[in-house]
């Protein structure tokens, strides 16, 4: 890859935080409406997001384009790395390795997750108000549930460890003490964010989400 790789790498790093990291946290909060408010709470949260002005523009500039760049360039970065934890079993080297592995898992998971949700809305199979039902169908299917748990844990690890790396790569946490404290903070974030995403995922398994599922059931049986 020719051109200024320094700039590409910096853009990749920045996009991971702004907007993707922010969107990730927003997604966590929206999902949590399913835990706090049940089907109606989740429906309201989804409708609130879709009532924002210029939704297609927001989606394209804050999600689609950054996600595509970060994902595709990230795959190239993963390809450029050797994994040598067999020889150097240090904690940070494991984190380096998992950052690449979790990135690839997250990429696959996001493509699939988008197909099951956003794409189905786009082609008119389900409405925004039926997404709670779609998630009920997915989370009550054991295989999908396992896939989603793996995907979510990988994504949260990639986010938390990526935030740690971002602070180093932009020269914010410079010394070993700052980097160590930063790693403790992002470990706590990893636990909290994982817990919140999984609580939402398991909330969707509740029977109260079932009614909304009937409309969506036709296509989920196919996939």
């Amino acid at each position: 890859m020719k051109g200024n790789t320094y700039l590409s790498r910096k853009i990749h790093s920045l996009l991971g935080v702004i907007p993707l990291g922010l969107f990730f946290i927003e997604h966590m909060v929206t999902n949590f409406a399913a835990v706090e408010g049940g089907p109606q709470g989740f429906k309201d949260a989804v409708i609130f997001l879709n009532s924002l002005p210029l939704v297609p523009v927001l989606e394209a500039t804050l999600i689609w384009i950054p996600l595509l760049f970060h994902g595709v360039y990230g795959l190239y970065i993963a390809y450029q790395s050797n994994l040598n934890t067999g020889q150097y079993h240090y904690g940070r080297n494991w984190a380096f390795t998992f950052q690449r592995i979790s990135g690839v898992i997250t990429f696959i998971f996001i493509v699939w997750h988008l197909y099951q949700t956003r794409v189905q809305v786009a082609i008119g199979n389900v409405g925004h108000d039926e997404l709670g039902g779609v998630m009920h169908d997915i989370s009550t299917n054991v295989l999908f549930l396992i896939f989603y748990v793996i995907g979510v844990v990988a994504a949260v690890f990639h986010f938390s460890n990526g935030m740690w790396s971002f602070l180093v790569s932009w020269g914010i946490t410079v010394g070993p003490r700052a980097q160590r404290i930063s790693s403790y903070i992002w470990m706590v974030v990893f636990v909290i964010v994982t817990a919140m995403f999984l609580m939402s995922l398991f909330a969707f398994r509740g029977d109260e989400f079932k009614e909304a599922a009937s409309a969506a059931i036709a296509w989920t049986n196919i996939v």
């Binding site: 020719k2 051109g3 200024n4 790789t5 320094y6 590409s8 790498r9 910096k10 970065i77 390809y79 450029q80 790395s81 050797n82 994994l83 040598n84 020889q87 150097y88 240090y90 940070r92 080297n93 984190a95 380096f96 390795t97 950052q99 740690w164 790396s165 180093v168 790569s169 932009w170 020269g171 914010i172 946490t173 410079v174 010394g175 070993p176 980097q179």
Partner: protein, 254 residues
């Protein structure tokens, strides 16, 4: 040499060998008589004196490079029992046997344990790891350096370009153009010098080109492997800060 051979005690070696730069590698086993206080270099010298494999068959002597024998020149770096380090300070008594010796294959192998570290010297040229003081007239004494700064800068100056950090780094490989940790730390060293600081921007620019500082993936193997205990990851993060500043300066000042 006084007879320090311990009766019936031997040391076993498994050495990865290669006859030519483009030849395939193979391993050979050696068993040599033990003497007190041996290091890997003195063991290799023993093999050189009597080039005989463990099974008794003759072979060519194993080639290696070494100079100072006190871990300051970096020439004898090799992979010893899975970790890159200097053979001169690898004491036989402290190593698990059989002792496995391999070349640092991140670099082009010349022969046996001899590697070509030219890319590291090219990297130093690329980042201008020197202080220009020549002029057409006497420029006089330069500015003084604060003692507190000198103390940490001295640690960075211990780098002997041995290549261990590049060998340990997962991002220094054929698919990646990353310059490696050593040269980045040298930019920090020469930018810290009061006279060197005058050319700070040139060195930072060199790190902001293809294969520069952006190749670091924060595995931090370098700082764990450096035989001189150089805070390489602190240097990289400090240069991340300076290159980031440089990036915004270039965008906004012109």
């Amino acid at each position: 040499m006084a007879d320090t051979t311990v009766a019936n005690k031997t040391i076993k070696f498994i050495i990865t060998r290669q006859d030519k730069p483009d030849a395939p590698s193979y391993t050979e086993q050696f068993e040599i008589p033990y003497r007190q206080n041996m290091n890997v270099i003195s063991a290799l010298m023993e093999i050189q004196r009597n080039p005989q494999k463990a099974d008794g068959a003759g072979t060519s002597p194993v080639c290696w490079e070494s100079n100072c024998l006190e871990e300051v020149c970096g020439a004898c770096s090799m992979v010893i029992n899975g970790k890159p380090r200097q053979a001169c300070t690898a004491l036989v008594d402290k190593l698990e046997q059989p002792i496995r010796l391999e070349p640092m294959s991140t670099f082009p192998v010349v022969r046996d344990l001899v590697i070509n570290r030219e890319r590291m010297f090219n990297a130093l040229k690329r980042v201008k790891a020197w202080i220009p003081i020549d002029g057409t007239y006497d420029l006089g004494p330069g500015p003084r350096m604060a003692e507190t700064k000198r103390q940490w800068a001295y640690e960075l100056s211990k780098c002997m370009t041995c290549g261990v950090c590049l060998e340990a780094c997962p991002n220094v490989n054929d698919r990646n153009s990353f310059i490696g940790p050593a040269a980045i730390s040298q930019v920090r060293l020469f930018n810290a010098h009061p006279t060197g600081e005058m050319n700070k921007a040139e060195r930072l620019d060199a790190l902001m080109e293809e294969g520069g500082i952006e190749g670091c993936g924060n595995s931090q193997n370098c700082v764990r492997s450096c035989p001189k205990g150089i805070p390489l990851t602190t240097s990289i993060a400090a240069m991340n800060k300076d290159t980031t500043k440089q990036l915004f300066k270039k965008w906004l000042d012109f």
